[in-house]
Amino acid sequence: MLSYAIRRTLVALPTLLVIVTAAFFMMRIAPGGPFDSQRHLPPEIERNIEASYSLDKPLYEQYFIYIDRLAHGDLGPSFKTRDFTVTQLIADGLPVSLKLGLSAMVAAILIGIALGTVAALNQNHLIDHVTMSAAMVGITIPTFVTAPILTLVFGVYGVRLFGYDISLPVGGWNGGAVPNMVLPVLVLALPQIAVIARLLRGSLVEVLHSNYIRTARAKGLPSHIIVFRHAFRAALLPLVSYLGPAVAGLLTGSLIVENIFGIPGIGRYFVDGALNRDYTLVLGVVICYAAFVIFLNLAADILYAALDPRVRYEQ
């Protein structure tokens, strides 16, 4: 088990390097530079600025300088927001995005698993069809549609639920206060809830038809033991495989959610940076995201091996 974990970790590091390199060179290929949109400056001053940002050196040299600085934890200065380094900007935005993303992930997993289980245990009954159809809706409607709808319902008009008037703030982060977080997290999590529910339902149904569940029933075990002790672990496996893409999906969604709800996370830095050719900023964000995703995939792989003892001995 340990050797498996170490082997997987050793693979992750070169992967990160590849991604950084790819992003670096891709940004450079784009025509145009960070200063194009500004007023035309006298050539000597332009050269000075370029020198201070090392833009005058050959491309491969710039690459090595970048990697060197990266190894020391220095992500370089932001080309556009002159007063801040990329590291500072990311340090500001990352915790916000992380909080949003992790909350959404947790919500998606818990709610998705609950819904999927209920549907699977009542296979082909009404509640199965209802939940799965609702899930389909959740997948096909994009976040930038659900966001305004939910905002209208819960934010602008308000809703009366269980005797309480619910009216949520429609934007702003407010330092991550809970009422501000409800809507963005919900909108972000919705597509993932749907996918996880469908995935788990399919997987659980299949496991419940397998031979060892028949043995468990023949053993006279009560239903809850059969489902939670025997079936669940095997049924969760496809879900663990989906964790990687799920996180990718959340990151994608966060770009939009941060945009709509005005949340100061790193998502908007990415979009702005891409549009403004702010190389270091974009690279910094990409590195953050990539590291996060890779780390999560690693965790998912290890979790998979922990759940399924057969994997540890295979190649």
Partner: protein, 318 residues
């Protein structure tokens, strides 16, 4: 994809013909025919095919269906609700002629939704085709050759798979300045990953089947084996996945349009219409409702058809 299911009489007709053919032993009942029969019995799938066909028809014949052009502006009729809208205050005088109302430049929404259908469906189908070709070739090669090459190729796919595709697409769009054609390629280039995985998985599972060994023993060479045996047996899951990729691509395009990196004015797609509409949800909700409705229904249909195909081609997967 066929449009209408056979009428009841025709079905009985065919059943009798088939029985006769079998008595005379002229024709066997291939797995494809079985699958098609199962698909036609799936009501959700059949209804979806009808609806999808209708939408496609409307998209193709959009210019005939509406007297307005999709870029024709009318500054007298800005943001008018359609004629039958309950709230009469937002209606304008000539609003009745615009079935879906108008947008903030006075353009007819109905015809724009249909043109949006053209673009979205085109993007969906073309990008899916791109991903199909790249994915099938990549996956078949990796699966069939196996060994180190397979490991390497799949590692590459694993890496790309875990990256949020949107980043790649955004970078590509920025690099190449919102090229319309490139949009197809970019999105397709992202969806091929799952296609490659599926094809490779199928190829692997078939590669070790006994009938492939039997073919070798019978002297069939590699190329013929791939063409005669592997490809027909890989098609099933590939077809299912193709019908499930199209909606994913349409969604992806809408995301990109929302961020302002997609289709440019005056061309439109459902993504653009929805993103514009969602910004005016309080003042002119019909601008969001209609494109969103069309897109949602289309995506639903593709999903139902995909599920139906999956059930039809492998009935064990219930």
């Amino acid at each position: 994809m066929s449009l209408a299911p056979p009428l009841v009489d025709r079905a009985a007709d065919r059943a009798e013909t088939e029985m006769m053919e079998r008595v005379l032993d002229l024709k066997g009942r291939s797995l494809w025919i079985d699958a098609r029969r199962r698909l036609m019995r799936n009501r959700a799938a059949v209804v979806s095919m009808v609806i999808l066909g209708t939408i496609a028809f409307m998209a193709v014949f959009a210019p005939i269906l509406s007297p307005y052009s999709f870029k024709q502006t009318d500054y007298d009729l800005i943001s008018c609700a359609p004629g039958w809208w309950p709230d009469k205050t937002v209606m304008c005088n000539a609003g009745g002629a615009h079935w879906f109302g108008t947008d903030n430049l006075g353009r007819d929404l109905f015809v724009r939704v249909l043109y949006g259908a053209r673009v979205s469906l085109a993007v969906g189908i073309i990008a899916t085709l791109v991903s199909l070709i790249v994915g099938v070739v990549y996956g078949a090669v990796a699966g069939f050759i196996g060994g180190r090459l397979d490991e390497l190729m799949m590692r590459f796919v694993d890496i790309l798979y875990s990256l949020p595709y949107i980043f790649l697409v955004i970078i590509l769009m920025v690099v190449f300045h919102r090229n319309f054609f490139l949009l197809f390629v970019a999105i397709g280039a992202v969806e091929w990953l799952t296609m490659a995985r599926i094809v490779r998985g199928q190829t692997l599972s078939i590669k070790y089947k006994e009938y492939i060994e039997a073919a070798r023993a019978a002297g069939v060479d590699t190329f013929d084996t791939i063409v005669r045996h592997i490809i027909p047996n890989v098609l099933g899951p590939v077809i299912v996945y193709v019908t499930l990729t199209v909606p994913a691509v349409i969604l992806a395009e809408s995301f990109i349009s929302f961020l302002g990196l997609g289709i440019q004015d005056p061309l439109t797609s459902w993504g653009v219409l929805i993103s514009d509409g969602s910004k005016q949800i309080e003042t002119a909700p019909w601008l969001l409702i209609f494109p969103a409705l069309f897109m949602a229904v289309t995506l639903f249909c593709f999903n139902f058809i995909g599920d139906g195909l999956r059930d039809a081609l492998d009935p064990k997967d219930r």
